[in-house]
Symmetry: D2
């Protein structure tokens, strides 16, 4: 079987770099095109990135000699993974979809469009069927699927087994988000050394709306959002990788701590899926009183596992806990790749 | 008028150092004795602290030549400010009170004792009267008053005008607490550089119980805790000074954002009190979308003002906001001193 | 006496902000004009800076309503303090000088021009006379003086008493420079949290050449650089304010540690100068074994005093020591202002 | 072949933890005993370390159930790797050697003893022969070998090819050392967040003397130290792993930059040694203008490769460069293991 050809849009940013790293030896996918802004177009990736590559010691060998294209249809590939900035992603992604490409996007622009799946394969793989309606409605040969905001994904993974087992009514969450979530150059060091910023533009809105859509039910050609209301407080802290979130939840049914931990532990919808990027377990519950911590837990499951800890009673809602996930991997690059893998097993690409 | 003589217990720790700094030129108080653990006792403060003083460039001149005593009654002073560690504070503070000293304590041990005032002068100055009952009940010549935990005080200041104006039913709060709150040596650097710790031992319990007592009503010889339930998530972050807290509140009555901001702005119960350490305003509301921030706002009102920002609707409770206060000043040293000033104006010391 | 009118070029950057802060209540100077890039021109400073002011809690009141001009001659002032970026400073500063303005610049562009004084008033106040030659040669009504690079100034202050007392032949220095030295947004947080960067573009060259010029002798219309060779290693570290430098020096004559410390302590050329921004002492020697440290010592002398410590024998050259100075104040904003004050007392402005 | 049995002294500290991690699947060695202080003795490692293990997410499975012994001869093993603190290492290590154990120590106590090899296998493997004399002189059945201080080892690796190819006369080095070098709890966070400390107790003395011994020549029963003088400035910075050092060197012979880089690149004395922990290359030269950096380069060669960059002319000595190495691996745990491997191939253990 030949590999599915992949183009990476926004290949020079931190998410793009991470995608290229993760696809270094992917069993199903092969990077055949990379694209970025006009300034970089026409140059070799290795040259452009010599002083900008900053997520690991070395640019992967396979991509160093590849020439950077502009972000326009014409790339030689079946699918594009988009790590574009939201300031430009809307139109570019639509052009690619119109031109027949499958688009797995990490940008925020299309996430809340009613006909665009906002996917976490462990949570709402069936939403992928929305693609058929999307194509029909928009008259596109290709299509767009999206992955959630980096602060949404860890929380939503944790909420899913609660919803399934006990019903879920309310969520209040406060995040402490890593610096890499803001891209590069991102947060100026003068703003964050010995400081924190209790504000991330548009982040709370995303967290509050995306979780509801992901946890919602596909019914015909639309998704009925979950009823669970979410209220979010988003903060930036001096941690490079990992978003840590303190969540309080109100469940529909009574549950003991043991039952909840068991629900977290047993949550493994992709167990037999064979998706290469699916972690052994999407959730792990840590019993240490001071866990999860970014320095210890951010790379669990190669960055694809969300770590939960500190489950305890909440005086206002029912329970509270802490969840941590890797914002660049589980929350961005790995999410786009896992979605692409789902697209293959569901027959939307690689036929 | 001669100044009131003050002893400082636990004078070598960070809170003790801050007390000594703040009392450098106090109009009412004069430090006449300093006490610490046995290892330091008998030595000059300047010598013991030569390599340990770490909150400002220089040890205040007035205290350098003072000899450190042991923490036992016999100190030449009318009142002691206690910055003792909770592992030793219980007995020592009781011995001082028994021996006739007024004790203004920053330790947690006595805070929740039913006959011990847990004071924030702007919030519950009238609780000071509990002293009379405490003395009677315990048969002490002296007495003990306490100030709240460093994460309690900023939040409680913010809650008080809400309670008074609109009634207060529920509070969910997530803290991001500065390193100095853990004392010295406190948090190892290996645990916090490029990391955060979603756990502070006993801190959530303190925050949840202390706020209710402080906001409660004195009735006869006991305090009826406020009914507002509090749920807390406490985190340590890589910020040296300042505790930042994201709070969601449920009010008893409807209120607009403007009304709430006005309530914060108008809150100034000590306006005409003449207490030297009372800030011009105990609360300031900042309109910047990313405020308050430790680096910009922690020293507001010489560290005695709590800064509030980001008031907005909460999807679960009614409103949410961010509050920041200086944990070493408003949350510890300055709190103990302000309480001492209240004791003077209410006639409990300095007669 | 009416105050001398001052314009600030590059008023929106961190150095510009610091100049505006320091001139808030200056006894000799009054800010009458502020200028910045085209995008800001025409707007009120308070509005432009609402979310960009980041060196202190509040924009000084006096400047909030001032309208920002473009950086072109025509500003209503006698002198301009230039905090322009070196990418644009060369031409703009020359235009101002040509148009008759006195220019006290913090930019690097003119520093090494043979007819431009590179001044540290405590070190080479007499170089100011180069202005006469500069004007004549260039046919300017105005003139330009410069202050050194932020890593040069602390070291050069420390070297001057060594040169004067013992002769100075060689200097090897390794710097650990604060983040604010790179301006704003400056160093991305992803590059410096849990990291350091052993490279600052052009910095070593500046340090090596500027020190020689400043320590050089004015002879007629030119400055003969000091013979002391300097070799520099420049590093960026995760400290917000303060450049710390480890220097080894070879002296011409033998000297004891005591003699050297005495030379540092006695160094006070501006003692009777009356310059308002001159610190009580430009150098202080700290005896603590682990001093100077940014957190404790960076603000010595209101940020205008360089702190020295750890003088000891060097196995290769003669002695080594550590020197720390505030890069934004002593190394930039305060330096430009002190130079301006020198210009007044030497009659070049304010006649 | 059965594996050589290893005991780890000081197994609970950060170096001990790292040794246990590195020996998880070692082809030659098997951990059969672990020892620590009295408080921990008698307990299971997994229990004692549940909240103290802090260098990786999980305690290696093989060691969790092992019982901690006291640090006294009697451990069932042929060799001990000592990660003891220098406050106790002297006597304990001697007791083990006397009792017949081979001791590979990371403590500083014995390093400078004339009859104790201070080893870096790539640099002075032949010094291992000193063991014979040591045993004879001390009448020990066992023996002690040591590895260098964590700041010595990276520098000395870089100096060795310079010495061999061009002769080496003088070295001035300024270090910026990671926090893990101070152990745990080590540096208090209040001392290092937004700060640096220009002092590490005894560190400069170690660096200055150890390099000379390691680079020295074994002649009969003694080591003649290298003549190259070293002057060191040691600083602590807010980096968790990695010591970065700026070095200036004076060579005996002229050399071009290319020749020096070639000397670094060609340096590979253990190429055919088969030592399992020897990295592919002990030195790599990086051409990026801002390399090496801890975040990118500290783990080169699984933490056993020192990364060099920025080779350039020095105005005072001949050349300067930056070298970075992993203080916990190359500078401590990995060094002790590599020494143990050398002992096996030279027949001192595992016969």
């Amino acid at each position: 079987m030949s590999k599915i050809s992949i183009g990476v849009l926004g290949a020079t940013g931190m998410v793009g770099q991470t995608i290229l790293n993760l696809l270094s030896n992917h069993p199903w996918f092969e990077v055949t095109a990379i694209a970025a802004s006009e300034q970089s177009a026409g140059k070799k990736y290795g040259e452009v990135m010599a002083s900008r590559w900053n997520i690991s010691p070395e640019i992967p060998e396979y991509v160093r000699e590849m020439k950077i294209s502009e972000c326009r249809p014409g790339l030689e590939c079946e699918m594009v993974l988009s790590a574009l900035d939201s300031s430009v992603a809307l139109e570019i992604e639509q052009e690619f979809a119109k031109a027949g490409y499958a688009v797995s996007s990490n940008a925020s622009n299309h996430r809340m469009h009613p006909d665009v799946p906002l996917l976490i394969p462990e949570v709402n793989a069936d939403h992928v069927k929305l693609i058929d309606y999307q194509r029909k409605k928009r008259g596109w040969k290709g299509f767009i699927v999206t992955d959630p905001n980096c602060s949404t994904i860890g929380l939503t993974l944790a909420l899913k087994p609660l919803l399934d087992n006990f019903g879920l009514e309310k969520v209040i969450v406060t995040t402490m988000q890593g610096l890499s979530g803001a891209g590069y150059p991102g947060v100026p060091s003068m703003d964050i050394v010995d400081n924190l910023i209790p504000y991330i533009k548009n982040e709370e809105e995303k967290l509050e709306s995306e979780a509801q859509k992901i946890l919602g039910k596909l019914s015909g050609t639309s998704i009925k959002p979950a009823e669970a209301a979410v209220s979010a407080n988003c903060n930036r802290v001096a941690v490079r990788y990992g978003h840590t979130e303190c969540a309080s939840v109100k469940l529909s049914e009574e549950a003991t701590e043991d039952e909840i931990i068991k629900a977290f532990d047993n949550f493994h919808p992709l167990k037999h899926s064979g998706l290469p990027s699916a972690p052994e377990k999407p959730l792990i519950y840590l019993t240490g009183e001071n866990r999860p911590q970014p320095k210890l837990d951010v790379n669990a499951g190669n960055g694809m596992t969300a770590s939960i800890g500190r489950l305890r009673k909440c005086n206002i809602l029912d329970y509270k806990f802490v969840v941590l996930s890797h914002n660049l991997i589980r929350g961005a690059a790995g999410a786009a790749i896992l979605n692409a893998e789902l697209l293959k097993t569901t027959g939307y690409i690689g036929k």
